[in-house]
């Protein structure tokens, strides 16, 4: 649906983005992660045809994004900017109506009413944008960005500054876009949000540091571990496991964290050994490092992720 090929962008001497390539498929949520200044917003602007690449190209459905095709291709893209950017003196309805007309919708009024209904803001339709809370403004901005039912949604920090309930609503909306076969490009610092919704992740630091599913990135960086929670102190059983040949065992209160990579021991073997040694096991589950650890390790391979 959307392809970025060797995208680079310079601003004078400064390199904002260098040699970034990836694809975005229909029905996929793709998250762009990276520190401030990593080139995330520049990437979004390049993909939406708002600025031109210094080199490389963007294609939407196989059609190259260029000065001539950009206005037409932009009609397929919904873009949520970092700031809601509503006209404060206009009402919510007026704000949306201008955009419905700018997108050339056949029935702008109906599209606006549908959006107000869908985002549960119909009762605020006649309020001026200046009167809205930050969360409501963000909701209106989201409604505006997908008013024309775009096939690709580019969302820059969609839950920034939102309370947990509003943030959950936004996540549900993002998931509903995926269900409807829309491609979603998410640009965020909120790793928890990415963990919950993203199918694939790209970590950016001017260049593309890594790309893949969250689990594939984890597997690439961290050895698989199993966490066993016992009904009694875990330390004595750590010794049992070490005697069984497991070198990477850590006890923390009633929990054991066991690295099983490079051993012949499987998780059922591990459980059996513990039970034979008299352990009462409450739970066993694979130990997945949070995405934050993956992210930090990718950006700082020499440093230590917690």
């Amino acid at each position: 649906m959307l392809t970025a090929t060797h995208l680079s962008r310079r601003f004078g001497e400064r390199i904002a983005l260098e040699d970034v390539s990836f694809t975005l498929e229909a029905g996929e949520i793709f998250a762009l992660l990276g520190p401030n200044g990593a080139g995330k917003t520049t990437t979004l602007r390049l993909l939406a045809g708002l600025i031109a690449p210094s080199s490389g190209s963007v294609q939407v459905d196989g059609e190259p994004m260029g000065p001539r095709s950009a206005p037409r291709l932009r009609a397929h893209i919904g873009f949520l900017t970092e700031a809601p950017g509503l006209w404060d003196r206009l009402t919510v309805r007026q704000n949306l109506l201008v955009y419905a007309r700018l997108y050339g919708l056949s029935s702008p009024e109906r599209a606006v009413e549908t959006a107000l209904e869908r985002f549960e803001i119909r009762d605020r339709g006649d309020d001026r944008a200046a009167q809205l809370s930050k969360g409501l403004k963000q909701r209106v901005a989201l409604a505006r960005s997908i008013l024309h039912d775009p096939r690709i949604a580019m969302l820059d920090e969609p839950t920034s500054g939102l309370d947990p309930e509003s943030a959950r609503d936004v996540r549900e909306l993002i998931l509903s876009l995926r269900e409807r076969g829309r491609a979603v490009l998410l640009c965020t610092h909120n790793l928890d949000e990415v963990e919950r919704v993203a199918d694939r992740v790209a970590v950016l630091s001017t260049r593309l540091v890594a790309i893949g599913t969250p689990s594939s990135l984890r597997a690439r960086l961290f050895t698989p571990r199993v966490r066993v929670v016992l009904a009694q102190p875990a330390e004595p059983f750590a010794g049992t496991l070490r005697q069984a040949g497991l070198a990477d065992v850590a006890a923390d209160g009633v929990a054991l964290s066991v690295g099983i990579a490079g051993t012949s021991l499987t998780t059922p073997d591990l459980v059996r050994r513990l039970v034979e040694a008299g352990a009462s096991i409450e739970s066993v589950h694979p130990e997945e490092p949070p995405l934050e650890d993956v992210y930090l390790k990718l950006l700082n391979p020499e440093g230590e992720a917690s």
């Binding site: 932009r74 873009f79 505006r144």
Partner: protein
């Protein structure tokens, strides 16, 4: 065109919600209307000295004797007609001030509220965006021009001698108000819009308007103290000059309002 109209509707709705922006322009217009009324009507009435008896207005009397359209007026009314005709150029100040204010506040307001980027994501072209912005400032300026002219003529019809209004409805007066006025307003608003791309304070952007405002009273003084007479050809030359300046400013504005420039170079 439909996108220009969509955005123009927003611009005008925004202006309607912010009428205080017109206060300076209305103040200037009121002064521009009252000043000639004071000179031609109030002062002679208070002092009891008729304008036609004053030696200071010899030039006007001389022109009165030469101008066939004035022959049917009595000398006092003819001098009143000259005063009102000369001060007509001051009516251009109102639209110029209004256009500058609206343009500067519109562009800088968008910058401060960060409302331009969502707009740039839509299929709107630079020309459509700029067209809507310029029309959004120019239309109120033209409305102000028409309104102030109607008010000016009404005051003259009530207060001045017989036939003075009829003289003012000639091609010279209409040329000043409907050619020089809108063209000067367009220069002012394009200057303000271009300046607004580079600064973050509307007042700073408006200061450039001095380049448009100052020649207007200079034109009035030039008429009053001789040297310049706003004949129809002179009005047409001034209009041509303003049209050329406008074309140059439009060229500059299209470059400044280009998407990439707005997103990467506007401060």
């Amino acid at each position: 065109m439909s996108r220009t109209l969509a955005l123009l509707g927003k611009e005008l709705a925004d202006v309607r919600q912010n009428l205080t922006i017109f206060l300076p322009a209305m103040l200037v217009t009121v002064i521009a209307i009252l000043l000639p009324v004071l000179i031609a009507i109030v002062v002679p009435a208070v002092t009891g000295e008729r304008l036609s008896d004053s030696g200071d207005l010899e030039i006007a009397l001389e022109m009165y004797r030469k101008d066939p359209s004035m022959q049917r007026l009595d000398p006092e009314a003819a001098i009143q007609a000259y005063v009102f005709q000369y001060f007509l150029v001051m009516l251009v100040l109102g639209p110029v001030t209004s256009a500058m204010s609206v343009a500067a506040f519109s562009v800088i307001g968008e910058k401060q509220a960060r409302t331009l980027e969502p707009l740039l994501v839509t299929p709107i072209s630079t020309f459509e965006l700029l067209g809507a912005k310029l029309l959004g400032a120019l239309l109120p300026a033209i409305a102000l021009t028409v309104g102030s002219l109607v008010l000016y003529l009404t005051v003259i019809a009530i207060a001045a001698g017989d036939g003075v209004v009829g003289v003012l409805l000639g091609p010279r007066a209409l040329g000043v108000v409907f050619l020089i006025g809108p063209l000067a307003a367009l220069v002012a608003l394009q200057l303000a819009a271009c300046a607004s791309a580079r600064v973050n304070d509307a007042r700073t952007a408006q200061q450039l308007g001095v380049f448009v405002i100052l020649p207007i009273p200079a034109l009035l003084l030039g008429q009053l103290f001789g040297g310049i007479e706003l004949t129809v050809p002179v009005i047409l030359w001034i209009s041509l000059f303003l049209a050329i300046v406008n074309a140059g400013l439009m060229w500059l504005a299209i470059r400044l309002f280009d998407r990439e420039t707005i997103l990467t170079r506007w401060k």
